[in-house]
Symmetry: C2
Subunit: 497 residues, 2 copies
């Protein structure tokens, strides 16, 4: 049965039901799981585990690549299975539980989690559940639409459960490049010299004796929920393209730019789409998530190669890409997130990192995660991995939110994920602020003049003038620095008196 999918005959006997496989997971365990941004997560077993959690106390620490599809984080939260979750999530129900202090969430740089686990600073999983398109003759695991942390979590687990997902075609095989850094202190350089290079093996090495159960699954990935570009995201894209043109004109970039990383989400996706009508050619992506825009850019002949750790596509683009994957396979590679996001590689390759800010302040500090300074949205994700070592670190956002009651540019951010040291360029639909080499007072001038919505410009100028009168390298009126957030919370508008 499924001999094209389970090619090591001795493993055929491991096929079992999702419920049976889920019974390997005990209360108190650390569980590893595949899945990155709604792509390639195990599905049937966590669903069975959520079901079991309704009638039996099972509390686990769940470690994945990033966020999951198929409402898995919702189900696992509702049935009380999630005691602790890392390193990223994007589920409204789980988010609510995290913000209520019911689920402990460890928000991490996505390149960091496996480093901490390898060195024993995070507990290793008793069980890892990994989605696959196939198991090879050697018992090695061919991942599906994401690699994420799967290879490491398989390596570090005592037992492995494999979900063979028949909705993924076998043509995905060969798209992956599995490389795991050696332990310290004897680590060698990650040998990657260009985004197109392969440095590993096409399947996750796994001792077949560790494979404790195999489950056949026919639940598809959830499609991407990214919104199409609108006038404002198009304006952001245009400002950024004008900036790139200027960099090319001044000899700091070539016409194929530098390898692009584009964060997940509507704005970043729109920025990539904007490159279709740009003069740039032979672009390469060295990114985290390959989105619809990756393939739009490829189809337009602009993008020649894309490296990522997952593919998260809409239904329409998914049908086209996976239906003709032979056409794309030599132009994409999926790597472990430790490699797609590795600081060593981001610095070596000279990535242009484009990520979304929730808010930023007049000095260029960025909040990517905390609404109102307190409530977790999703997590920092890979934004820090890229911004810190990028050739150019760009953050994008619309200048206002909630119909204008929120300014995305504030006197002081209510939570810092990226300090001004790591932020080179800020873009809103209003314009672009190039902060490179500037001191804080100069940064404030450029940000206020270029990025702020007109409704908030006068108020920010007033704050900045008042702050400068008090002095300092980074002038603030400390007693008023967070007053816009207080106004919003208490009176529903940042400028309410």
């Amino acid at each position: 049965m499924y001999s094209d999918r389970i090619r090591l005959a001795s493993l055929q006997s491991k096929i079992t039901s999702a419920a049976e496989a889920a019974s390997l997971i005990k209360d108190g365990m650390v569980v590893g799981m595949s899945g990155f941004t709604r792509a390639g997560e195990a599905k049937a077993v966590p669903m069975a585990l959520a079901e079991r959690g309704k009638s039996e106390p099972v509390h686990i620490t769940l470690v994945t690549g990033a966020s999951l599809g198929n409402d898995l984080d919702k189900m696992l939260t509702e049935s009380g299975v999630l005691a602790r979750r890392m390193p990223f999530q994007a589920d409204p129900t789980l988010r609510k539980a995290i913000n209520a202090g019911k689920v402990m969430f460890t928000d991490q740089h996505l390149s960091d989690t496996m480093e901490a686990m390898r060195s024993g600073q995070l507990r290793k999983p008793e069980v890892t559940i990994v989605e696959a398109v196939a198991i090879t003759e050697e018992g090695h695991i061919v991942p599906s639409t994401s690699v994420g942390n799967s290879a490491n979590l398989v390596q570090y687990a005592e037992k492995v459960i494999v979900e063979i997902n028949l909705t993924h075609r076998l043509n995905l095989e060969g798209a992956h490049d599995i490389y795991i850094p050696s332990p310290r202190p004897d680590r060698t350089p990650v040998p990657l010299l260009s985004p197109e290079q392969r440095i590993g093996v096409p399947a996750i090495p796994c001792d077949p004796a560790k494979i404790a159960a195999i489950v056949i699954c026919e639940i598809p990935d959830s499609p991407s929920n990214v919104l199409p570009p609108d006038d404002e995201t198009q304006a952001i894209a245009n400002h950024l393209i004008d900036f790139f043109k200027k960099e090319v004109a001044e000899g700091r970039l070539t016409n194929s730019l530098m390898p692009l990383q584009v964060g997940i989400g509507t704005i970043a996706n729109a920025v990539t789409c904007g490159l279709i009508d740009s003069p740039f050619t032979d672009i390469v992506q060295y990114s985290e998530v390959l989105q619809d825009s990756t393939f739009a850019l490829m189809d337009a002949g602009k993008l020649k190669f894309a490296s990522g750790c997952s593919m998260t596509l809409s239904e329409e683009v998914g049908a086209k890409v996976y239906g003709n994957f032979e056409k794309y396979k030599d132009k994409v590679v999926l790597r472990p997130q430790e490699i797609s996001n590795h600081p060593e590689l981001v610095r070596r390759l000279g990535i242009i990192g484009i990520n979304t800010a929730l808010e930023f302040d007049i000095y260029g500090n960025v909040n990517s995660t905390h609404v109102g300074g307190t409530h977790m949205m999703n997590g920092i994700g890979g934004s820090g991995d890229f911004a810190r070592n990028a050739h150019i670190a760009v953050f994008v956002t619309k200048s206002i939110a909630k119909g204008g009651s929120i300014s995305s540019v504030v006197p002081m951010v209510s939570h810092v994920d990226h300090t001004e040291h790591d932020v080179d360029v800020l873009v809103t639909e209003q314009g672009l602020a190039d902060l490179r080499g500037l001191a804080p007072r100069e940064r404030a001038r450029v940000i206020i003049d270029n990025c702020v919505h007109p409704d908030y410009r006068a108020a920010l100028n007033e704050y900045f003038d008042k702050a400068c009168a008090k002095g300092g390298h980074t002038p603030h009126v400390i007693g008023e620095a967070l007053s816009w957030h207080v106004n919003l919370a208490e009176r529903g508008h940042m400028l309410a008196k």
Copy 2:
């Protein structure tokens, strides 16, 4: 003349006065200069430049490795020569000018500046002034007590002025290892695999035609101004040593720990001294500044090798070390700061990074730079280079300051240099908080219980309880989050009503 110091005979004709050499520097120029933490800065020429600045308008951008000795930043500030300064400083007069908005200060991660300059994102220097112990037969420059950014600044400059400093003995030659990463996009891995390894050349390669002037100087380096350990710094050291012992017992560290980075300053120096009486052996440093404690640890037979980018010693230790440098030379190496602080290497080698915090908050965010959230102290320095990619990122501080009117642990830091993602362990004389793998609410509990001064514990507990009642992943009472800083500014004590 000085044929042992200037071995390329054709360069003898370049010997000139400091004033003459300084005349090569024109108004509006970017000037590169050697110097890192009071070690190895050019001296005579900047002094002559400061003198000239008194009678003639000369405004420059000064780019160094880090801070300078001999009151150079003071003199250059007072004579109005400094228009812009990067990437670090530690001078009271310059600090005042920066905080008054009179000198534009670009505070940068110390591994970043040369990357930005190499790619043309920071303007390259017209003139670089570099201190040397000698110029080789090839015209290459042998640095003195620091390498810092000197090698890069020589490479990127149009003209080079060399100060041969006779107060440094020739026995320093051979202590340096000069390696500069190749430009992107064709960069190869930095080939360093262990702290002891040499990957470069012993002198700074330089086209002799670029050497526009040579000045003979006899002004010594300023001695280190680090204070000796006291009861509180000793307590901090003891807590950290106990933590390391536990890590060894649990198999996460060996008895020689991992390569140690220790930030400049009194507390970090005391922590290193504390290792003399520890059970650890065959310790290696992969650090920025080699301080008195480095050599104390070496003399005690505990430290087998130290890699850094400068040596900043007290008068007493300097006399001993430089007077017997043959004894130490095979146990130390000085590298460019781009290499001593390189994220690629910090991650590969698995550094334990120990740096000083000005204040930290109950969630583990660290302020290293801004007094009261607005006034620059020195700069972020290398702390971010190390903390982000460290095996274990440690920040240390005394729990109170100014006789108790300031708590170093606050509800929310008034400025963020290191986000909670990058902070593993916090230590005060009160105790140690191990934050690894914890969610923010758990971090708060551990920090309040272990690090806070008893005078502030009740108030922080009260704040935390009130914040938790409002909810959130990182609970805060936003309107009160910075109230301790407001109290201090307005009433002289953080808990003043």
